[in-house]
């Protein structure tokens, strides 16, 4: 039983990482109707950046902040010069972001090489907490807590702040919101940057768990999409629930039913798409 607990907690940790990536993607999708295939690229950019910084004796937490800010800045540039021109044009978005995946992936390979890079767990969290008769890595627990904190933050922003209300209104009626004098374009840029930043944070925090390697960006993307579809496009709450489900199934599954764990997840995704295409918490129409 204790090993199950261990797996469960680990699964939750992974789930939280997935939640952070997926939340960014789903918020961008829900607010801007933009489908960013290159979302995984934000993850690895931040992860690689943090790796380089930490390898050069920079403090982990500082590296985290720098990586997130840089990636968010990149997100702003990307939105302003590339994405903005193709609002509503799904095909162009798919192609554009597909090309970006290629560009970032190869550039990363050129700079950092194809071999696995390890980002060390920050020293202050590098210990295990005895829970019952298992020793659970504190870092993983930390991630779960961070995930919860972010969820609370998002909830608070959405329901209690004026900015959150504006964004929700912008989702429903762009013209009305801009008629109120609010620069919808700028709001969108910030939302995109926020999504990128969230992905970046998950990249840096998740790197000690997953390692950094070529192909990670598309793996992250696929996982985010699974989470998104099951949880519901545009709903970060849905992402939270489904990310945790996916994380747990994956972790528990690869220990207990390794040959079918991925199959289960994809089958679940297909099932949802058939029975309830807008996901567990998604809006009816997209």
């Amino acid at each position: 039983m204790s090993s199950f607990f261990f797996l469960l907690l680990t699964g939750l940790a992974y789930g939280m990482v997935y939640f952070m990536i997926a939340a960014g993607l789903t918020i961008i999708l829900g607010v801007m109707n933009v489908f960013n295939l290159a979302h995984g690229s934000f993850y690895i950019i931040a992860a690689y950046l943090a790796f380089t910084l930490v390898s050069n004796e920079v403090n982990f937490w500082l590296a985290l902040v720098v990586a997130v800010l840089c990636t968010a800045a990149l997100g702003i540039l990307m939105e302003k010069f590339l994405i903005k021109r193709f609002y509503g044009k799904t095909l162009e978005q798919v192609l554009l972001t597909f090309g970006l995946i290629y560009i970032v992936s190869d550039t990363a390979k050129l700079i950092w090489g194809p071999t696995l890079k390890n980002l060390a767990v920050p020293a202050v969290l590098n210990f295990s907490i005895p829970l019952g008769n298992i020793a659970f890595p504190a870092y993983r627990l930390f991630i779960v807590l961070v995930g919860c904190a972010i969820a609370v933050l998002l909830w608070y922003f959405e329901t209690r702040t004026r900015a959150g209300a504006i964004i929700r209104a912008g989702v429903d009626d762009r013209e009305m919101v801009s008629a109120l004098g609010i620069n919808v374009g700028r709001v969108f840029t910030y939302v995109f940057a926020f999504g990128a930043g969230l992905a970046a944070a998950s990249g840096v925090l998740g790197a000690p768990l997953t390692g950094i390697y070529t192909g990670l960006d598309t793996e992250v993307l696929v996982t985010s999409l699974i989470v998104l579809v099951i949880g519901g496009l545009g709903s970060w709450k849905g992402s939270l629930i489904s990310a945790l489900i996916v994380g747990v199934i994956q972790t528990v599954g690869s220990a207990w039913f390794p040959s079918v764990s991925m199959l289960i997840i994809f089958a679940l995704m297909m099932l949802i798409l058939i029975i309830r295409p807008h996901g567990l918490f998604g809006r009816e129409v997209l």
């Binding site: 290629y102 999409l225 579809v229 991925m262 798409l273």
Partner: protein
């Protein structure tokens, strides 16, 4: 009408003569281009003529390829194997299409993506059947009944002939009543509905055809490559097919072929210079999207329109009544 017949003849001549101007490697590469062209055409059909954008089309390519690889252990007749591949892909397309088509464009993109990945993971996990990540070698060779086909030249002609066949079939379908209605659906779906057509039936029909053709391409690939692996169904391969359609021009018959030629030649050429062909491809892709104006075929049409407009103006400037000249310019500009 006459002009397309001319193009057809020209193409046939090039296709027949080409291998004699290329090295063995070139001939082999050309054969691959034909196969990918068929695959791209199958996607181009639903994208450009029925308005359905799928990010999981490689699923059918993989299905076709694996059918040949797996069934080939029990059956060696090429006709049977290819038929099985086509029928299975078509059937899967019909069944999944019936479910997927209910969704909006956006969800359709995602659900086809999901299905492609599902097959990828399935191919990966069912080791005993598919060889898993290691892939599976294809135990059969092409044989029309006159002996195995092994020389690069012979393989080239088989693939070339298949390509021409598929091109003609797709052309036929596009110009048929059903094909016209599919285009109508892409143009204005609700209107087609209110004209009395069952839109769903047509969409499923289009998707089934596309799936079957994709499976055909996959089957050919199995024979060509003698080896299949799960990567064949990966969504990035679907993306590459989409790329080929876009490069060549969406909504054109020959576009996907041109896109396949450009993509594969570029990939091969760039790979000899640098290992970062993804980077170059990505840059080209982004540039293409930013510049817009469709693919190569549209560029060609655009350029030829511009040229004929220029020449008309040039002719008109010599005329007395310049007003008449301007009128003829307006006509060609349209």
């Amino acid at each position: 009408m006459k002009r397309s017949a001319l193009w057809m003849c020209l193409m046939l001549i090039v296709v027949i003569v080409l291998p004699y101007t290329l090295s063995d490697f070139g001939v082999y590469l050309a054969a691959e281009i034909y196969i990918m062209a068929i695959f791209a055409m199958s996607l181009g059909f639903i994208m450009g003529y029925a308005g359905m954008v799928s990010l999981g089309h490689a699923a059918f390519f993989g299905l076709g390829a694996y059918t040949v690889a797996i069934l080939g252990t029990y059956v060696t007749n090429m006709y049977v194997l290819i038929l099985a591949a086509v029928v299975l892909s078509g059937l899967v397309a019909m069944l999944t299409g019936a479910v997927f088509i209910r969704t909006s464009h956006f969800y359709f993109l995602m659900i086809t993506f999901a299905f492609g990945q599902l097959l990828y993971v399935t191919a990966w996990q069912l080791k005993r059947l598919t060889g898993g990540a290691d892939g599976k070698s294809v135990p059969v060779e092409m044989d029309f009944g006159f002996g195995p086909i092994t020389s690069p030249l012979a393989i080239y002609y088989v693939m070339a002939a298949s390509f021409v066949l598929v091109l003609l079939v797709v052309r036929l379908i596009v110009n048929s009543p059903a094909g016209n209605i599919m285009r109508g659906i892409m143009e204005n779906e609700s209107r087609i509905n209110f004209l009395g057509y069952n839109v769903r039936t047509y969409k499923i029909l289009a998707y089934t055809i596309a799936g079957a053709l994709g499976g055909f391409a996959g089957a050919l690939y199995a024979y060509y490559n003698a080896y299949v692996s799960p990567e064949l169904t990966h969504w990035m391969n679907s993306g590459i097919a989409m790329l080929m359609v876009i490069i060549g021009g969406v909504g054109t018959l020959i576009g996907p072929f041109i896109g396949a030629v450009v993509f594969i030649l570029l990939k091969n050429y760039i790979s000899t210079i640098t290992s970062s062909w993804h980077l170059i491809m990505g840059l080209i892709l982004v540039t293409l999207v930013l510049v817009g104006r469709g693919g190569i075929v549209h560029w060609y049409a655009y350029l030829s329109r511009k040229l004929s407009g220029l020449s008309a103006r040039w002719r008109a400037s010599g005329k007395h009544d310049s007003a008449e000249g301007m009128k003829s310019v307006e006509h060609t500009e349209n």
